[in-house]
């Protein structure tokens, strides 16, 4: 009977479940209900058809299809929905989960393997859920000499910062969590937090390998931030705005990658480095420094960092799409449908054909989202592909690439953009 893996006891399992249920009920009653009341007190309740929607009224209306629709609409346009679900955290986490799965399957395919296979019957589709369950049921071990508050908070901050990054990404016209004037600068401001979180978590672990990894991460992120910032300047020169939505809308005619391929390449390489993807995954170089700054993280803390990094991956890919690939612009898939068909559906003999969701969202919205997701998926594919193709490079080479080649290329791109503006190709009175 080994100590490391205690034998599963059903009675203890049941006991722990009952205990947990008890505490959840107690905490919900003592804390959750008052919190809900307080929140309800402060929330601006929507007014629909002249009636103030209280929670009671909302529940009543939900049972009535005709009344439920405007209620749902008002919910869908609220900030809460944006933050929780669609362009916000839920969507990003979903894309991140999909990315993890696709990465594993694709890498396996490239390496002539099978990849996740058995979990979930169909090609291991439930593997991720299994991994999550595994991580959540693992014991969290915090090293004795670690700086506990920082150590525990660091993964949460990492996820939070990644989510804040997602908040700035416009997905469809008007569908963005925070539509700010200086969106691009806000993106850079948010990116600036990642090195700090990394180095703080590395410092707090009080161990050699995380420390080396954290300092490497710091050097790497910091060095590639400047070419990253400079490579976006070309787009700003051409569009004259820092608002990401406007930048995306400015590419109705032609995506900027056509005019500024150098800038796009620089941005892409910097993106790989900021994401710590191979070939730039030096902070986690397992053959030199075990797992870099993640070495001491165990169980769900590691899972959270992974979640954060994949959310970050999505955010960066989406930013690439917005800046260089024209965002959501693209031909609408099918000719616009008639309004009546949208609202009441079409009766085909005994079957009534309903287009789900269309009464709530416009068709342009669907088209935009589909284009955006397709483009993002393509970019994510190109972010994932190097992992199967390239080895890891060395830190001095990395810094050299960042400081010598990429910055020079970024300046070349700036001058190209400047030339485009002054030659009258782009801008007021220009062709595009």
């Amino acid at each position: 009977m080994s100590v490391i893996a205690p034998r599963f006891k059903f009675s203890e399992f049941v006991k722990s479940i009952i205990e947990n249920a008890f505490w959840i009920v107690v905490i919900m009653t003592l804390v959750g209900l008052p919190m809900a009341m307080i929140v309800l007190f402060y929330v601006d309740l929507p007014v629909i058809d002249g009636a103030l929607v209280t929670p009671f009224l909302a529940l009543t209306w939900l049972s009535h299809p005709e009344l439920a629709l405007p209620l749902l609409k008002s919910f869908l346009t609220s900030d809460a929905f944006r933050i929780l679900a669609f362009p916000g955290f839920g969507f990003a986490a979903l894309v991140a989960a999909g990315t993890i799965f696709v990465e594993r399957k694709m890498l396996a395919k490239l390496q002539l393997r099978v990849g996740p296979f058995y979990c979930g019957k169909i090609e291991g589709i439930l593997q991720l859920a299994g991994d999550g369950l595994k991580l959540i049921s693992k014991e969290i071990i915090i090293p004795a000499k670690a700086d506990k508050p920082l150590f525990i908070v660091a993964p949460l901050l990492f996820v939070g910062a990644a989510a804040a990054f997602v908040a700035l990404i416009p997905v469809a016209p008007g569908w963005v969590v925070a539509d700010v004037d200086v969106g691009l600068l806000a993106v850079f401001a948010v990116i600036g937090f990642f090195p700090i979180i990394t180095v703080l978590s590395a410092w707090s672990a009080n161990s050699k390998f995380p420390f080396i990894g954290g300092i490497r991460a710091l050097y790497q992120m910091v060095s590639f931030e400047i070419p990253l910032i400079l490579s976006c300047l070309g787009v700003v020169l051409l569009t004259g705005t820092l608002n990401l939505t406007e930048i995306a809308q400015s590419q109705q005619v032609i995506p900027w990658i056509v005019l500024m391929p150098i800038g796009a390449i620089v941005f892409f390489i910097c993106m790989l480095a900021e994401l710590e993807r191979i070939p730039f995954d030096l902070p986690e170089a397992e053959s030199e420094i075990v797992a870099g700054w993640l070495t001491e993280f165990s169980g769900m803390m590691y899972g959270l960092v992974q979640l954060g990094s994949y959310v970050k991956l999505y955010a960066f890919s989406a930013l690439f799409v917005v800046l260089f690939l024209g965002g959501w612009s693209g031909p609408v898939f099918w000719p616009p449908l008639e309004q009546e068909l949208l609202e009441s559906g079409q009766t085909l003999g005994p079957i009534k054909l309903q287009l789900p969701g269309l009464p709530l969202f416009s068709q342009e919205f669907f088209s935009a989202v589909i284009w955006f997701v397709l483009k993002t998926a393509a970019v994510i594919f190109f972010v994932l592909l190097p992992r199967g193709v390239f080895p890891r490079i060395r830190i001095d080479m990395l810094l050299r690439i960042g400081w010598y080649k990429l910055i020079a290329m970024a300046f070349v791109n700036i001058f190209v953009a400047l030339g485009l503006v002054y030659a009258g190709v782009v801008g007021p009175g220009g062709i595009f």
């Binding site: 390496q111 393997r113 050699k208 070939p279 053959s287 193709v389 080895p391 890891r392 060395r394 830190i395």
Partner: protein, 385 residues
Amino acid sequence: MEGKTTVPALAELPPGLELQRVDERIMTLNVGPQHPGSGHMRIIVQIDGDRIVACDPDPGYVHRGEEKMAEYRNYVQNIPHLERPVIHDSCNILYPYCLATEEILGIEVPERAQYVRVIAAELNRCVYTLYWLAIYGIFLGHSTMFMWPTGDRELLIDLLEKMTGARVTHAYLVPGGVRNDVPANFEDVCLRQVDYFEKRIREYAGIFYDNPILISRTRDAGALSRHDAVALGTTGSVLRASGVDYDVRKKEPYDCYDSLDFETSVMREGDAYARSRVPWLDMMQSCRIIRDALSKMPKSGSVRVKLKPNPKGPEMVSYKRVESGRGALGCYVVSDGKPEPYRVKMSVGSFRNLIALPYLLRGEKLGNMPAVYWSLNYWPVEADR
């Protein structure tokens, strides 16, 4: 009697190991033994920032005492034990022992057995090299280069399994030949799979050997000059990567190697890249050898000399060398007239190449450590025996 170890004072350290300054800047890093980048050994590196100031390799995590155990078993019973240090290269590691034992026992090996042995040894060399290459890939962070060789290795393991009946620990070579003849249609299967295998390993060039990132990473990392390579007594691919054309198969042909057609692969640069490329070139030559041996092999004949149950040799010594996957592999067998050898000593390539490690790593970047370390064509368990 009490294991008194002599701890050397600082001034006594060899030129490769002295600390330049004892400083709070210098950090001692234990790389291994439970580390993804060290195998089962420990490398104690002292780093000043990103530079390695000193390095002290410490094999000895998996010591089995093979040499001691060999003194208690008779010549045939030693076979399954002595192949254990490098199970991926088990035919080659048994080869010098069998040659030396045959000299002591005075046995001539039948001709067909010689060819079968050579085929098995070359297949095993490829199997080992692929495994080594896979780990080299993962050390450099190239996960595809980990998966492809481990997958392609299956082709050869399948062949070896058809020949020997076991996938890794074959126990195939015995004093006096091989344990069993190859199966009936072995030649066709072998030719087909070796051809495909050669096609596969040529594809490694595009993704690995010609990859600019890999080249820039390993070029000039841990360069070993021709003079140093000779003086340090390195062997195998490390030596040949430094421009010394030395291959035991050519210089001191054993069994039927003198009748086979192949070339020695030599590179001049002596850096980690050349050291990683030479085994790959060797694999091509192995395919050539296998094809040649298959065509020249006698179609029938005995493959094993019948030995007495407890064979005894005269009181003599024998030192035989072969070229294994990691370089020259010598076996020194001392017989005192009993059925058990008096002393078996294996002079293995890994151990000889390990001497170069502290020498090469001094002044390198920490990021170069796995690249240089594993490019020495090193197998921790073999060094440890």
